[in-house]
């Protein structure tokens, strides 16, 4: 290697490290390979590569999924633009950090009673609304009550049905009483509906004004078009490096990607997987591919023949070549599923469960054992479930042929798929959005009496563990329970999970991002505006 090449390589390493494209370990290894000593490389990492984020600039953020009929009412937040805006101009009690842990936002600390049925949140005393009013416990109580009660029109009502009472103890302490233990309650406070708004005197909230305690305040805005925000000097958190932020609704995938390429925006929230490879060649664009907790599932009715036999269910699980599906349908932008609905992006994920691989021979022998050789089943699907859902079902049918299973792919109409097919047909394809914790996910779709128990799976041990884990405050014991539940779902459950889909988004290399990006939403858990910065 010549000297100039060394220098060039170091420069590239530095720039990769700055933008978060390379970890410290990799940086040190490549630096040593490039001819530096270990101690010089360590020094370089801390001085040059991870320089302090710079202040300033206008961050133009192109976001998919926005609508003219959006509103500031946290109870009816639905589109990505509103969710991202909420994380930019409002605050929550808690937030999901870059490493996936739960961190403080408006609540400095929180603790539970011994049975996890009463939670006490200590609020920060530094938070102010954009109007200048100080945040107090009354605002938090009114904001949570917005989703409770008979009259509420909030889509998040179901999340707070366990709450029996919310009281305050002084201006900066909020106490929430639950009807049963829930160790995950602080996690629920990160749900995008739980944004804190200023309270009115009558105990309702003023969501109409768009006021909040977030890092940026709204200067001008039009729903479904664009919002311009500037930094809120009284923000209680750390970060918010940009002077101004513009959230631009870019629903058309082509317009979004073109705007990023031409420099009309600095970051976008979604990249089309089909064109990801082409975009990757552009040296000015950095693509992030982040495993999420959203999943594709194939539930089978466990009380309907032939799926009432666990051997048949397992044969169908073994007859799927997940690697092939991930490569051909998601272009690599997915994390392999293992037939339990608990993603690596959620807390308590058990990392030591053996991966189920494609094994048509074992599937065949299981079918023989069940006396169901030459099995024929129908799989319902529609393209509105997931881009490429029908192709995926056809591909799976091909994989299953090797195990002697004949899968008829039934293409259902896109309209009304979730009212006419899901929960009605015994074997279909479903797309699930991310939920913050395994408890929320399992309670929603795997609990024996859940309305959305899509596989009709009723395993007594699983349900017993689910209730125990919900109120268990000891993390180690809780993780063990979730591990056992994962094993039960994987080996006895009625749901095939081919993959967890990744968030794939991109930004200009002018934008600096932290090494670890939160996986709760696209663009660093929807908090790019307060966590990212401009390099120069």
């Amino acid at each position: 290697m010549t000297k100039s090449k060394d220098a060039e390589m170091l420069e590239r390493l530095e720039s990769a490290a700055r933008t978060g494209g390379i970890s410290k370990r990799d940086f040190l290894r490549y630096s040593v390979l490039a001819g530096l000593t270990a101690s010089t490389a360590t020094g370089l990492w801390s001085t040059k590569a991870k320089a302090q984020p710079k202040q300033g600039g206008t961050f133009r953020w192109g976001i998919h999924d926005g609508n003219t009929s959006d509103s500031h009412d946290p109870g009816t937040y639905l589109t990505r633009v509103m969710i991202f805006l909420a994380h930019t101009h409002r605050s929550y009690l808690t937030m999901i950090m870059g490493d996936g842990s739960l961190g403080p936002d408006l609540a400095e600390s929180w603790e539970a009673s011994a049975d996890a049925s009463e939670w006490t949140f200590k609020l920060t005393e530094n938070a102010t609304f954009h109007s200048g009013k100080k945040l107090t416990a009354d605002d938090v109580i009114a904001s949570l009550n917005h989703h409770r009660g008979e009259k509420t029109t909030s889509a998040a009502k179901a999340l707070l049905t366990d709450v029996t009472d919310i009281t305050k103890d002084g201006d900066y302490t909020v106490i929430v009483k639950l009807s049963g233990g829930n160790a995950d309650f602080p996690w629920l406070m990160t749900d995008y509906h739980m944004a804190i708004c200023p309270a009115n005197d009558d105990g309702t909230i003023d969501w109409q004004s768009g006021d909040g305690t977030g890092p940026y305040k709204i200067d001008t805005g039009e729903f479904g078009v664009q919002f311009s925000l500037s930094r809120h000097d009284g923000w209680h958190g750390e970060g918010a490096y940009f002077d101004k932020v513009e959230l631009i609704t870019l629903n058309d995938p082509n317009a979004r990607q073109t705007a990023l390429v031409t420099g009309d925006v600095d970051a976008v929230s979604l990249i089309e997987l089909k064109t990801m490879g082409l975009l990757q060649r552009n040296p000015n664009i950095k693509i992030h591919n982040i495993p999420s907790a959203g999943a594709i599932t194939l539930p089978m009715f466990c009380d309907t023949a032939p799926f009432d036999n666990p051997d048949v269910r397992n044969a169908l699980k073994l007859a799927m070549n997940r690697d092939d599906i991930i490569e051909k349908i998601t272009f690599g932008a997915a994390t392999k599923g293992n037939d339990f609905h608990h993603s690596p992006a959620q807390p308590y994920w058990p990392d030591d469960i053996p991966q189920r691989e494609y094994d048509p021979d074992q599937a065949k022998s299981l079918l023989k054992k069940a006396g169901a050789e030459g099995l024929t089943v129908s799989l319902s699907t529609a393209d509105s479930v997931y881009a490429g859902a029908v192709d995926m079902a056809v591909l799976y049918a091909e994989h299953a042929k090797a195990a002697g299973i004949n899968i008829n792919v039934v293409r259902e109409p896109n309209d009304g798929y979730y009212s006419d097919v899901w929960l009605k047909k015994p074997f279909c394809l479903v797309s699930w959005g991310a939920r913050p914790t395994p408890d929320v996910m399992y309670t929603l779709a795997y609990k024996n009496d859940a309305a959305w128990n899509e596989s009709h799976w009723k395993n007594p041990r699983f349900n017993e563990l689910l209730l125990q884990a919900k109120a268990e405050l000891d993390d180690t014991r809780r993780a063990e329970m979730y591990r056992e539940m994962a094993m039960l779902a994987r080996d006895d459950g009625g749901t095939i999970i081919p993959f967890f889909n990744n968030f794939v988004y991109a930004n200009s290399t002018k934008v600096g991002t932290p090494e670890k990006l939160a996986a709760s939403w696209e663009n660093d858990g929807a908090r790019a505006a307060s966590r990212w910065w401009f390099e120069s």
Partner: protein, 318 residues
């Protein structure tokens, strides 16, 4: 002139009745759509209780006919109600968008109308020459391509590869007029390409048709130069069909540009209408459709009046 005034008044009266019929059709078409606003707003989190609570809040628990007459009573006094989703006044929600749509339509028309009429006269003059053929092939190609495709081609060459113009036409309040023209040039150019062929070919056909008439032959025989034959003798008689096709295209520029708005992320009325239909936001849908219907009625009226004014035979009927 009294005849024209009478015509205008009669047509305006008929137009008002048309609008009423349109409003009835729109209202019941929205009612026919599966699902309602409460479900659309609440999405997957809709439970029977929250849906019922929202319906009651919005007054959707009343029968459709009663809601229609409520709306009609308001509309007759100039109050078009509030958006069911955002609670914003319909007039406020639409006015900005409509100004944007009018601006883009005007921008495109200011370029397209003179260009296509001049081109139409020139190709009529040079008919069956190479220039005529090339102009016809190019304009017919552009009118035959879907407008989003034209938009993408323009973005590829004029925004991505050469960076002359921005790829998205997002507007901000503090823009200078020059900036505004620059930002919205690509969507305007797309619309120009879409409407030019129609107007140009109609001009060409109308003029060529007249060139076979005896009075044109007379003009030629007395030695008038070809361009003068067309501009002075043929064109005045060709105005009626040209004005008609121009009016038709102007109406299209206002009502039919949803795809261009989507491709260039331009905040016009078309996008608003699509969003409102998806959310079953009836007052907004109704107002948008009435604006579109009124646009057609007024432009058709203008075309007829224009045709009469440019034709002395119609101006002074026996």
């Amino acid at each position: 002139m009294g005849d024209i005034l009478q015509l205008v008044l009669k047509r305006l009266g008929l137009g008002a009745i048309t609008l009423l019929v349109v409003s009835i059709l729109i209202f019941f078409a929205v009612e026919l759509l599966p699902g309602d606003i409460a479900q659309a707003v609440l999405g997957q989190g809709a439970t029977p209780e929250t849906v019922a609570a929202l319906r009651e809040k919005l007054g959707l628990d009343q029968p459709a006919v009663i809601r229609y007459f409520h709306w009609l009573a308001g509309a007759l006094t100039g109050d078009f109600g509030v958006s069911l989703v955002s609670g914003e006044r319909v007039s406020a929600a639409i006015s900005d968008r409509f100004v944007n749509t009018l601006f883009l339509a005007t921008y495109a028309a200011v370029i397209a109308v003179p260009v296509s009429i001049v081109l139409g006269v020139i190709v009529a003059l040079l008919r069956n020459t190479l220039f005529d053929r090339v102009a016809n092939v190019l304009t017919l190609t552009s009118i035959s391509s879907p407008e989003f495709f034209l938009g993408y081609i323009l973005i590829l060459y004029l925004a991505v590869k050469s960076n002359y113009f921005p790829a998205i036409a997002s507007l901000s309040a503090d823009m200078s007029f020059g900036d505004l023209l620059h930002r919205t040039f690509l969507p305007a150019l797309t619309l120009v390409l879409v409407v030019t062929a129609h107007m140009m070919r109609m001009t060409r056909a109308a003029i060529i048709n007249l060139l076979a008439s005896p009075y044109i032959e007379m003009a030629r025989l007395k030695g008038v130069p070809p361009w003068k034959v067309i501009v002075k003798h043929a064109l005045p008689n060709a105005w009626a069909p040209i004005i008609n096709v121009v009016a038709l295209n102007l109406a299209y520029l206002i009502t039919g540009v949803v795809l261009v708005e989507v491709v260039f992320v331009y905040p016009g009325v078309g996008q608003l209408l699509v969003d409102a239909v998806a959310k079953r936001d009836f007052p907004i849908v109704q107002a948008c459709c009435l604006i579109f219907a009124a646009t057609f009625i007024l432009l058709n009226l203008a075309a007829d009046v224009g045709a009469i004014l440019t034709n002395p035979r119609l101006r002074h009927p026996k």
